[in-house]
Symmetry: C2
Amino acid sequence: MTTIYEVATRAGVSLSTVSRVLNGNKSVNPALAEKVKQAASELHFTPSQKARSLASKHSHAIGIVLPNKHMLFASHLLFSFEHILRQHKKHCVIAFSHDTIESEVEAIEFLLSQGCDGVFVTTISSTTKHLHSLKDKIVTLSTGEAKATVTDLSASVAHCVSKAHHLLSEQGHTDIALVNDRKTVSQNETFLSLFKKQLIVNVEVDALSDPFLDPLLELMAKGEVFSAIICTNDVLVERVVNSAKELGMVLPSDLSIISSRPPNAHAEISSSLTYNVSSVAYSTLDMARAAAKKCFAAFYDDGLDEDSANPLSPIFLDYGSTAPFS
Amino acid sequence: MTTIYEVATRAGVSLSTVSRVLNGNKSVNPALAEKVKQAASELHFTPSQKARSLASKHSHAIGIVLPNKHMLFASHLLFSFEHILRQHKKHCVIAFSHDTIESEVEAIEFLLSQGCDGVFVTTISSTTKHLHSLKDKIVTLSTGEAKATVTDLSASVAHCVSKAHHLLSEQGHTDIALVNDRKTVSQNETFLSLFKKQLIVNVEVDALSDPFLDPLLELMAKGEVFSAIICTNDVLVERVVNSAKELGMVLPSDLSIISSRPPNAHAEISSSLTYNVSSVAYSTLDMARAAAKKCFAAFYDDGLDEDSANPLSPIFLDYGSTAPFS
DNA sequence: TTGTATGCGTTATCAA
DNA sequence: TTGATAACGCATACAA
């Protein structure tokens, strides 16, 4: 392994000059700088991360806590996250939480003990007192409404529902129904006020195992008319679509259906659906970008500048399952 | 951060004694050792990986190259791999290759430049000359038959086919057919000799897009009888199953069907199948174990001992789609 | 068996 | 602007 010292001798300067040039922050004589760069490239010099992280405060390693082995969503997020990190010459150390708070804490502590500058948690985002002491080393993906005490990436299904509602409203729909399986949404007065109370069906998550559960029929039983439905879950969408077809409805002209994906779901169409459903969801790329930015700001002094100030916002994926109200 | 030196003073010994106790290799006075452990735990001492990796030769970081964002198989492998690594106090740095050789090389070099002791490559496993120089730092998951020049984990679909054949033979089947989409298998004389030539259907991968392709009909057209079929691909299985049902066959009594999964597929049943198909595949846990073992042996002096010498072998997942021949 | 001293390859702090 | 030199926290060869 070639060291900074060898580069120094070859360039005829001291090692501290080399360090300055390579880190490029301090002012150096351009002529010398050129010499150093030349020598460095000739020797194929690669600074030792080991030494570098010992001498400086940072290891340039960022930990990421992943949920479990079925990481459909997380794999996309991880992919983008790693891509961004590598562009900034930082690397990504992973650890799985096994969907429990204890294991999540374990994973975080492990990553930190391994020298990570900080940790990005994509899972439960529990913020126990245990973690409170190292909160400035943690960025979480907060998918709920409850704010954590750590730096978090706020992404919520309520925002998605809101965006979906907005889109439908723009298309002229006034009677919009909500088929909801989220406690967080059903408690969020702000978003619920967008809907007529009668046009909301709340479905318990465990009730989904009942194959006879038919949200569409439940809605119709209320005797109200509606021209569009927002579902917070793909299974619910499937039920509604199938039911609508059985009832002889023509989609989307008779009924606009839109899926409002939770933040930790793909921003991609579900292959199990027989009907392509438009959806409102967060882009994993956007999330990764936002997460990286938060991490850089929290773990390092110099924040990532880039095209700044684009808050995390749901995107609309139009697969033609909504139509203007006529 | 509490250092080894503080532990030393508190325990009333020198720092080298502390180092010895904590690394547990050299002989130390049990009494002193106890003191040191006590002091260490009282101070919540956690050795700095940064310093440790600079002073010693190892960073205790192992890189893993993942294929792409759709990592269905790799996520399971990663999960198990990380679990094993963490048990041995090593951590897992990831990088994605984007399914090209160039990006794979990039990923490997990046991981190595970040100080990883070695890299486990789960993807293309190309072994260009470029990588040959650092072959002792690379373990690959070789899913083909072609041996790489680096340390590799040999896993092949041919082994799976062989195992499937063996299982069916044990059940009394003598006329076994093979529906194959793998070039590597169709060139492997050893395994093909298990089958009667007439009972082999080779399907080009791109031919799978043709919905009228019916391997079962092709087989039957050969005028031979057979009581069992081995498929090297889930799509093929689906075709065979559907076709068999249309022909009025009762599964599995009329026909045993078994899926011989390629090494880089889940060892889980595919949810897209309407019929549960038994399969022969590698367990991702086994693969992770084997990979970890190879990595430890290649990157560190002390190999992982554990229950040694269990070579990677396909497992049988019985979902009842095979029946004894009668 | 234990303690001392040196080195690992950088970054950071001083003088010059 | 540059160059010595001191950390960084630990492992380890060597001396005691």
